[in-house]
């Protein structure tokens, strides 16, 4: 047995590949790093992903790093996780790439869920996945020059090179399939709160296929954090990765650093974090349910959803000082304590919320026109959900039984009891149901956490965070698994930080859910994924055509659809 393979699943992988696993390193209690040759990456990754008896295996994140200043090479790590009660295991498959030869066999042909990750390292680091079916630009702006890789260490974070940008060499969208017309959606569309450009290829009102260009919100966060900010400051930019599930990102980041630096978080802080994460889930789920109603033209339900959500925002403001960006997380613990009167506020708010939300769900689900719009619409099959490594309510509505809180307990979740709702239908209605049920579960979790909250400090005292330590931090955000990878650096700054938001894993499966539906349902389906483009940091999509027989000329189309671009 290879030294370090002290866990059943890891041992099995090592036995299966023998000598080809060059080294095993346990970098944290539940995280193993397997070093392989770059040509073996694809095989090892697909072996783990495809082990049917290992439950909901998942590509959790993939990181490319410019390790030239330390080791003279680039590195890639595919992080796989086992979920669904199989054990608390994260397996990283790592390979080094020499600068002269940055190509390696792509994993995408085996597991489509790897597509975006590989496009991203291609964009940002210049790593070349061979046989990748679609290596179009994903992350960087259209007017970014080719051959400039911002995440390489020799790139200054404030540089912002441009290239001449002409109409012709805009983003290479796919040609619409025979007999279809392009219906553009976004980047500025009322039903998409955030910019993203979709091209729906439509026949009549039916969506035949979809192309997209996203990442309008790519803000270079990882680079800013590696160069401009200190460990504690990064908490605040992490929180601003997403304005809806920001706290999840801040916690995921802090947990990654704490794991890497061996910092023990006081128990009370873990409970405080848990309560804040659940409060965030409450407001996020109610928000999303409200927006789904809005997109279905049901404004009254939208208004009422926001009305009953508002006290949650007020509660957050009184607990943390801000309605949305809680600023509660520092490396090592929490920033504000729950005094007795604050606990009282939580209890009071939850009591009211529980009643009002139940009423809201009942009345909304008894509205025939609304249910008609949601039932059987935007179906994502279990196969597709798994194929794309989807996460969160989007995956759970399609039958994937995964939830980081249960499968890889962090903060205080180990001590708490809760159910994970799973539906098989995979339609918009199922997603609404998952969210509605999770609201009640969250309330229950908070009640328990308040009851069991231990005493003690809320912020750990630590001296220094050692350099060159790697670790993952993960959180079940309202939209699903958020995974942060960190490699610590010198002088109180990060060497590498890779943020993987939940929408990043969900988005690529969206075309599968859109196909076969009508343009009228597109905004609703997109909303039901609860996309957070800003989380994902970079995004754009395409849409459908009109039912006219005359085929609109390509140029006209471009003019028509580019009007808002």
């Amino acid at each position: 047995m290879i030294e370090g393979a002290d866990e059943k699943h890891v041992r099995e992988v090592c036995e299966r590949f023998g000598e080809r696993i060059k080294r095993v390193e346990r970098i944290a209690q539940n995280q193993w790093l397997l070093l392989v040759d770059k040509n073996d990456v694809r095989e090892v990754v697909s072996y783990v992903i495809n082990r049917k008896d290992w439950g909901e295996t998942q590509l959790s994140t993939m990181v490319g790093t410019d390790e030239r200043p330390i080791r003279g090479r680039f590195s890639i790590i595919y992080w796989l996780s086992l979920n669904g009660g199989e054990g608390d295991v994260f397996i990283g498959v790592k390979a080094y790439l020499r600068e002269e030869d940055l190509s390696y066999p792509s994993v995408t042909p085996e597991h489509p869920g790897a597509s975006w990750y590989e496009r991203e390292v291609h964009d940002l680091l210049g790593i070349e996945p061979e046989d990748h079916p679609d290596l179009r630009r994903l992350v960087l702006p259209d007017d970014w020059p080719y051959g400039v890789y911002p995440l390489r260490k020799d790139f200054d974070y404030t540089d912002s090179p441009r290239r001449e940008f002409t109409e012709e060499d805009k983003y290479p969208y796919r040609k619409p399939p025979e007999g279809t017309v392009v219906h553009p959606l976004g980047p500025y569309h009322v039903a998409l709160d955030e910019p993203g450009h979709f091209r729906l290829f439509v026949r009549g009102e039916e969506i035949v296929d979809v192309d997209y260009r996203l990442f309008y919100q790519h803000r270079g966060i990882e680079k800013i954090a590696e160069r401009r900010l200190t460990y504690d400051q990064v908490n605040f930019i992490a929180e601003r990765i997403c304005g809806i599930c920001g706290s999840s990102h801040a916690v995921a980041y802090a947990q990654a650093i704490e794991t890497a630096g061996g910092i023990e978080v006081p128990e009370r802080a873990a409970y405080i974090r848990t309560v804040m994460l659940e409060i965030e889930r409450l407001h996020s789920h109610i928000l999303n349910l409200g927006l789904a109603c809005h997109d279905a033209g049901f404004d009254t339900a939208f208004m009422h959803a926001f009305r009953i959500r508002e006290p949650v925002m007020w509660l957050a403001e009184r607990l943390t000082g801000n309605r949305k960006t809680y600023g509660m997380v520092l490396v090592g613990g929490a920033r504000r304590d729950f005094l007795d009167y604050r606990k009282g506020l939580i209890e009071k708010t939850l009591k009211r919320l529980k009643e009002e939300f139940r009423e809201w769900v009942d009345s909304t689900l008894s509205t025939g026109t609304f249910v008609k719009r949601c039932e059987g619409v935007g179906v994502l099959s279990y196969r597709d959900a798994k194929r794309w490594s989807s996460v969160g309510p989007w995956a759970r509505a399609s039958g994937r039984n995964i939830d980081v809180r249960r499968d890889h307990p962090y903060a205080a979740y180990r001590d708490l009891d809760f159910k994970v709702p799973v539906y098989r239908e995979g339609d918009v209605l199922a997603r609404c149901m998952v969210r509605a049920e999770e609201v009640f579960e969250s309330i229950w979790i908070i009640e328990q956490a308040l009851d069991q909250m231990p005493g003690g400090d809320i912020l750990a005292d630590y001296r220094e965070i050692p350099a060159r330590k790697e670790a993952l931090g993960y959180v079940e955000a309202p939209r699903g698994e958020d995974v942060h990878y960190v490699m610590t650096g010198d002088e109180n700054t990060l060497y590498r930080w890779r943020v993987r938001a939940s929408t990043y894993n969900n988005f690529p499966s969206l075309p599968d859910a859109l196909r076969g539906n009508t343009i009228a349902d597109a905004p609703l389906i997109i909303a039901s994924m609860d996309p957070c483009y800003s989380c994902t940091e970079r995004l754009q999509v395409v849409d459908v055509n009109t039912g006219r027989v005359t085929v609109v000329k390509e140029e006209e189309l471009v003019r028509g659809c580019c009007r808002w671009e």
Binding site: F298, M303, T369, R373, G560
Partner: protein
């Protein structure tokens, strides 16, 4: 016929339609537990739009004329309806004129929508077309039954000469449905859906032209509601003085409108195919009613 007999009702309709819309917004706000905008808000919006120079995305004449055609048609529809004792234009067969000019508003909307190479306006025009094609027959049949019953083709004469029969009540029901759908109220507002197709045809209009178009649509709604209100009120108020009848008509229209808005507030928007399917069913039902009516029941 004096000129004032036309000017007064027309200016009344032009003034009241936006106020009615403002009231609707207020009612909706109340259902949603909000304070809502002032009742005159729609008027403020209109004046603001009418004072703004429009942007013309195309040189096409149809794009520029469509709003005015729509407004003129809607106003024309208003002139054949009875207001208390007054009917600005009444002649036998004005019922066909009414159907025609109401359809003209939609046609202007459709033409405007197709005058641009923009998929949103096209989708809006397309949906409006499907909607009109599926609902105009119902409207026609409903009024047709009323015409058969009253042996008249004049809209101001018909309501006064109806005799009670089961088919009449069914016909009024059909008329109410047709008015609801034709008025573009939720759940039948797919053609102007903001979140789906950015208000369809209107998405490329701006400033004055947008104002005129919106006004036309409001007038159309008002005219349809007035038609329905008249068929309910006039048969019950034979022999009342003209002003009283007018006030009762107005009250009826307000009552119907509030009911409509409340229904609107409690529904999601139907997809166009769902709406069409529903309209088709209603149309088939209307044929049955027509059969009953022609049998004299």
């Amino acid at each position: 016929m004096a000129l004032w007999e036309i000017i007064v009702p027309v200016s009344l309709v032009l003034t009241i339609a936006p106020i009615l819309d403002g009231m609707g917004r207020k009612v909706k706000a109340k259902v949603q537990m909000r304070q809502g905008p002032p009742i005159l808000q729609t008027w403020y919006d209109l004046t603001s739009l009418l004072s703004m120079e429009p942007i013309l995305p195309t040189d096409g004449l149809s794009f520029r004329l469509a709003p005015y055609v729509a407004l003129a048609s809607a106003v024309a529809a208003a002139t054949v309806l009875p207001y208390g004792g007054l009917s600005p234009l009444r002649f036998s067969g004005d019922f066909f004129v009414f159907l025609y000019v109401v359809a003209m508003v939609s046609i202007a909307y459709i033409v405007a929508g197709f005058s641009l190479p923009n998929t949103y306006t096209n989708a809006g025009a397309n949906r409006e077309m499907m909607m009109v094609l599926s609902i105009e027959p119902v409207l026609g049949v409903a009024i047709g039954i009323l015409a058969i019953n009253s042996h008249s083709l004049c809209l101001s004469y018909m309501p006064l000469h109806l005799h009670a029969s089961p088919s009449i009540f069914l016909a009024i029901g059909l008329l109410a449905y047709a008015v609801y759908v034709e008025g573009g109220f939720v759940p039948f507002d797919a053609a102007e859906a903001e979140t789906e197709i950015l208000e369809g045809t209107l998405c490329e209009y701006s400033g004055r032209l947008l104002g005129v178009f919106k006004w036309a649509l409001m007038v159309k709604r008002f005219v349809l509601l007035w038609l329905l209100g008249s068929f309910i009120v006039l048969p019950l108020t034979k022999g009342f003085p003209g002003w009283a009848v007018f006030l009762l008509q107005l009250t009826a229209v307000l009552a119907i409108y509030f009911a409509v808005v409340t229904v609107e507030a409690h529904n999601a928007r139907l997809r166009i195919d769902q709406a069409i399917r529903m309209n088709t069913k209603v149309f088939l039902a209307s044929l049955v009613v027509l059969l009953i009516a022609s049998l004299g029941w």
